[in-house]
Symmetry: C2
Subunit: 156 residues, 2 copies
DNA sequence: ACCTTGTTGCAACTTTGTTGCAACAAGCCA
DNA sequence: TGGCTTGTTGCAACAAAGTTGCAACAAGGT
């Protein structure tokens, strides 16, 4: 369990290593995602930022830039909203070059669970997704998304 | 390969068997989906209906009712757009009770492919999705969605 | 043919996401 | 430290997807 400040400076470090400019918006958003551990929707993030609120548009752009540089990963739920999460295993010790793909790889490998009632999305790290997938001739597979839908413990 | 009229009357039959009222809107939409064979977005359907156009809102409600009664299945792409498709194997000869779950079952079992360029979604019937899936204690799985993302033959 | 009840179309609205642009601040160099 | 360049931010306005309320209408039973 990390202290808030640690998460914050780790986030700052990650942003710097990714080659992106270190701005408060990026650091705060990444820190928030790291702290949550799970997947957050755009709205979730806005709420958690609280009085540190940043513009809605900026948030979109921040998340885009973080996603592009592999610091976070975007997942589409069946409620047509994006959810974002950090790669759990991504450490601040990764080298600049290799760091870019850490989060992406992690999230492409495991599955997600979305509650059909409350819409919450969590990672199912135990499930190995996308092993030995065969696509028809002419198609080129780039990534695999495996989403299980059902009821989470809270919604029974 | 079925003739247009056949598809139309088959659709009418399916709607009747599902317990829904047989309306021109429902029959036309279901027929259009059957004829296409693949997955259509809301917009695709509107275009295909052409001069038989129905109200946007009605289309939403028609698709909802068809989905609820298992005649079609909704799939979320990563472009936050719903796509709808019929269960390929659903025959008009199914009994009223059993018919309801045909489409749902079929689509829960196989995977979908979405092109990251043009956004088109197709079914990958060869891939058996969701075999031997384990979810954590407390979670209840209802359905599995496996989506492969990449390039379709047209987009290279 | 008539009546009831589910269905349709319209208008207005909400939510999610995007675009253009001027103001601003990160990073770099002297 | 101060100034310059260029990427970032916030605002306003917009676009697309989807929803809600309501009056008019048509399907299916009697």
């Amino acid at each position: 369990m990390k202290h808030t400040d640690d998460i914050h400076s780790a986030a700052r470090e990650q942003v710097r290593e990714s080659g992106l400019r270190v701005t408060t918006a990026r650091v705060r958003v990444l820190a928030e995602l790291s702290a949550s551990g799970g997947l957050l929707s755009h709205q979730d993030i806005e709420q958690r930022l609280g009085r540190h609120r940043i513009d809605r548009v900026t948030l979109y752009r921040v998340l885009d830039s973080l996603a592009e540089h592999g610091l976070v990963h975007r997942v589409a739920g069946n409620d047509r909203i994006w959810r974002f999460g950090v790669g759990r295993g991504a450490t601040s010790g990764a080298t600049a070059g290799a760091g870019a793909s850490v989060a992406r790889e992690l999230h492409e490998r495991h599955a997600h669970f979305q509650c059909s009632d409350c819409g919450k999305v969590v990672c199912l790290s135990e499930v190995a997704a996308g092993r030995a997938l065969r696509v028809p001739r002419g198609y080129r597979a780039e990534s695999v998304e495996l989403t299980v839908r059902g009821r989470c413990p809270q919604c029974g």
